[in-house]
């Protein structure tokens, strides 16, 4: 608990997202707006899914614990589906905006490409999702307490931070791949993204059996990262060019 855990978990969970924001998004005002609008769309999806869950809870017997847990699991999966629906809706909105911008400007193309928007939108979803998962836990970790005093796992904070990190990165990669799939009308890509998201949520249901949830989640994150890299136009050639260019620059300087 206290400061060490707070800073450690905060940096684990939000470090990469913050770095991505500072280095790629903060300079361009249009990207910041798209980021915040993405966060807003995720928030809307969460609102609707919480509403549905809340109604289900109120309509059911509050004493029946297994029923409550079942409703919560239903809430989890429904929320995942709704998030993907809102991701699609955001894609449509951004497409309309791009078309508007392109139609207006004289030269070809608008200030921001669909791929960049996909990345920014994914990051927006990821940051908001991570923040909502982690911030209350972080503020609790500042105060005194003993983790797992009632028999729960003592690794609660660090696993929460790791899951949040995975979630943020996953949302970013899913955003890139999803938009690319929509652009090329490859519906199997969209189905894959949705099922991977459902798989992620399902794996988190295995908590606190962290061996069952964390390694598979990070494997999925790595796979998605590679998929997003190739989907957004990267290639092994560009990777090697990056290394050799750096070496060449290092030699010449």
């Amino acid at each position: 608990m206290t400061l060490a855990v707070f800073f450690g978990c905060a940096f684990i969970a939000f470090g990469p997202a913050f770095a991505l924001f500072v280095f790629t998004i903060a300079r361009d005002p249009l990207r910041v707006i798209i980021l915040i609008a993405g966060a807003f769309f995720w928030l809307l999806s969460l609102l609707l899914s919480s509403l549905v869950w809340f109604i289900a809870i109120k309509a059911s017997n509050s004493q029946d614990l297994t029923l409550q847990k079942g409703l919560l699991i239903f809430g989890v999966f429904f929320s995942v589906l709704l998030q993907e629906v809102f991701r699609f809706a955001y894609y449509r909105l951004l497409r309309k905006a791009t078309e508007g911008l392109a139609a207006i400007s004289d030269d070809d193309g608008s200030a921001i490409s669909v791929r960049q928007m996909a990345y920014v939108a994914g990051l927006g979803f990821g940051i908001m999702s991570g923040a909502f998962s982690m911030i209350n836990i972080l503020s609790d970790s500042l105060g005194p307490g003993t983790v797992g005093i009632f028999g729960d796992s003592q690794y609660y904070f660090i696993t929460a931070a790791l899951m949040t990190l995975a979630l943020t990165l996953l949302h970013t990669f899913w955003g890139v791949v999803f938009f690319e799939g929509c652009e090329k009308s490859q519906w199997w890509v969209i189905a894959a993204v949705v099922s991977l998201h459902l798989l992620f949520a399902g794996l988190s249901l295995l908590n606190p059996l962290y061996e069952g949830s964390l390694p598979p989640v990070y494997f999925i994150t790595l796979t998605m990262g590679i998929w997003a890299f190739f989907s957004s136009g990267g290639s092994l050639h560009s990777l090697s060019a990056l290394c050799t260019r750096r070496k060449a620059e290092g030699e010449s300087s």
Partner: protein, 437 residues
């Protein structure tokens, strides 16, 4: 805490979105509209709603250029100005939330109330409490309307000295008395020992520099920082002294009033802005936050220096004008050859009334104060920013002064109540089982 009337008077013209730009061709309906003279209890500046004037003059000036280019310029400027407003709004909210979470003074309920909310909220009876909060709102809104009308009347009959004296008195109170209170509470919270001579030095310097920056000349960033600080202080006062339910009802009522006062033809704020436009005068300093200083180096119309003054609409208006005049003197004739079109490419910035800052921060601060949930605060923050973005988009489309409160406050209220009641139990259950969505 009963404050004098003079303090609240200074808050007129506070909430509005104005695009600071001076049209070369007078077109009053496109210049800034004072959205809402809102009178806050103690120190509220009336919100000024100003529209985005930016594209207007550009279009007129560039009659020869194709329409597409103008529109693209509009949109290019648009995103940048949205961010130029996001940053100060975010900073103000961060200051308020940080204070609320750390200094317990502003969340302690005291038996003192402002005279503008005379009805006490009885926590035992829901119906009575609701009724009293509505009555409090009616009292508060009528005070605001009354003060706004007085300001408009004073302005119409050119009683500038009265208005300026009023404004100076209220900023004096804010910069000295409220910041002294704030500093005292912060020291108490962190148990810092402080002696009076040091404190007097600090407060004196802070206050005097603030008065100079806001009412006279100063670096733009410093002026912006001071405006943010006084908005935050004002918001904290509101959070402390407005009763719980009354605060929410007042927020809703203020947005409706903002809408009416800015858009209706006989609305006080609209009349204020139109009068200011007719006379080609800038709106009062220290009531509006301007995101950029419009400086037009060498207006093409060099034969008419008076018109150059009138064109500068940003709040650092007086300062900018003087700088421009001195630049003209120094730069000799060469600069005056610059075409008006080139000048208008300078970044104009957008203006937002301080009342908008204050009410946004009140909403987010109250979300942070009630309950320990950070998700609610974050949700309100995002909702307000998106509302501001939408308002600026409307501004770019309609090109007239718009009220900045309604959309943001509506989103903020909707998200506050829904996140607090629906999302919070859901996320808490998920967190306790460590499920991730």
């Amino acid at each position: 805490m009963n404050t004098s009337d003079s303090e609240e008077d200074s808050y007129n013209e506070r909430s509005a979105l104005v695009q600071c730009e001076s049209p070369t061709i007078p077109s009053y309906n496109q210049d800034h509209d004072v959205s809402l003279p809102q009178q806050t209890d103690t120190k509220r500046r009336r919100p000024v709603s100003s529209g985005l004037d930016e594209p207007g003059p550009v279009e007129r000036e560039r009659a020869s250029t194709p329409d597409g280019e103008e529109e693209e310029l509009t949109l290019k400027y648009g995103a940048k100005h949205v961010i130029m407003l996001f940053i100060p709004v975010t900073l103000c909210m961060v200051v308020v939330v940080a204070t609320i979470k750390s200094v317990s003074f502003y969340t302690e309920k005291s038996s003192q109330r402002l005279i503008y909310t005379p009805f006490e909220e009885d926590p035992n009876s829901v119906g009575q409490r609701l009724l009293n909060s509505f009555l409090n709102t009616i009292v508060m809104i009528s005070v605001i309307v009354f003060m706004t009308i007085i300001l408009v009347v004073l302005y119409k009959y050119r009683c500038y000295k009265v208005i300026h004296g009023w404004l100076i008195l209220s900023s004096l109170m804010l910069l000295f008395w409220f910041s002294f209170m704030y500093l005292g509470e912060v020291f108490k919270t962190y148990n810092v020992a402080m002696d009076y001579p040091t404190l007097v030095m600090i407060i004196w310097n802070f206050g005097v520099v603030g008065m100079i920056c806001i009412h006279w000349k100063g670096p733009l960033r410093l002026q912006q920082a001071y405006l943010i600080v006084i908005s935050a202080l004002m918001a904290l006062i509101f959070i402390k002294y407005l009763p719980e339910w009354s605060a929410w009802v007042i927020l809703g009522a203020i947005s409706i009033y903002d809408l009416i006062a800015v858009l209706c033809p006989k609305g006080p704020l609209r009349m204020l802005v139109e009068t200011a436009q007719e006379r080609n005068e800038p709106i009062f300093p220290a009531l509006i936050y301007s995101s950029a200083m419009v400086w037009m180096v060498g207006m093409a119309d060099s034969s008419n220096p008076g018109s150059a003054d009138g064109r500068l609409r940003n709040e650092g208006g007086a300062r900018a004008q003087e700088e421009e005049e001195s630049e003209d003197d120094v730069a000799h004739g060469g600069r005056r050859r610059y075409s008006a079109e080139e000048d208008l490419e300078e970044d104009r910035g957008v203006k937002l009334g301080l009342g908008d800052f204050i009410f946004y921060s009140v909403l987010v601060g109250k979300a942070a104060a009630t309950g320990g949930d950070w998700n609610t605060t974050l949700a309100c923050f995002v909702a307000i920013l998106i509302g501001l973005c939408l308002t600026l988009l409307l501004l770019a489309i309609f090109k007239k002064a718009l009220p900045a409160l309604p959309i943001s406050i509506t989103f903020g209220l909707v998200f506050y109540f829904s996140t607090d009641n629906l999302v919070r139990p859901f996320m808490d259950s998920l967190a306790s089982h460590q499920y991730y969505i």
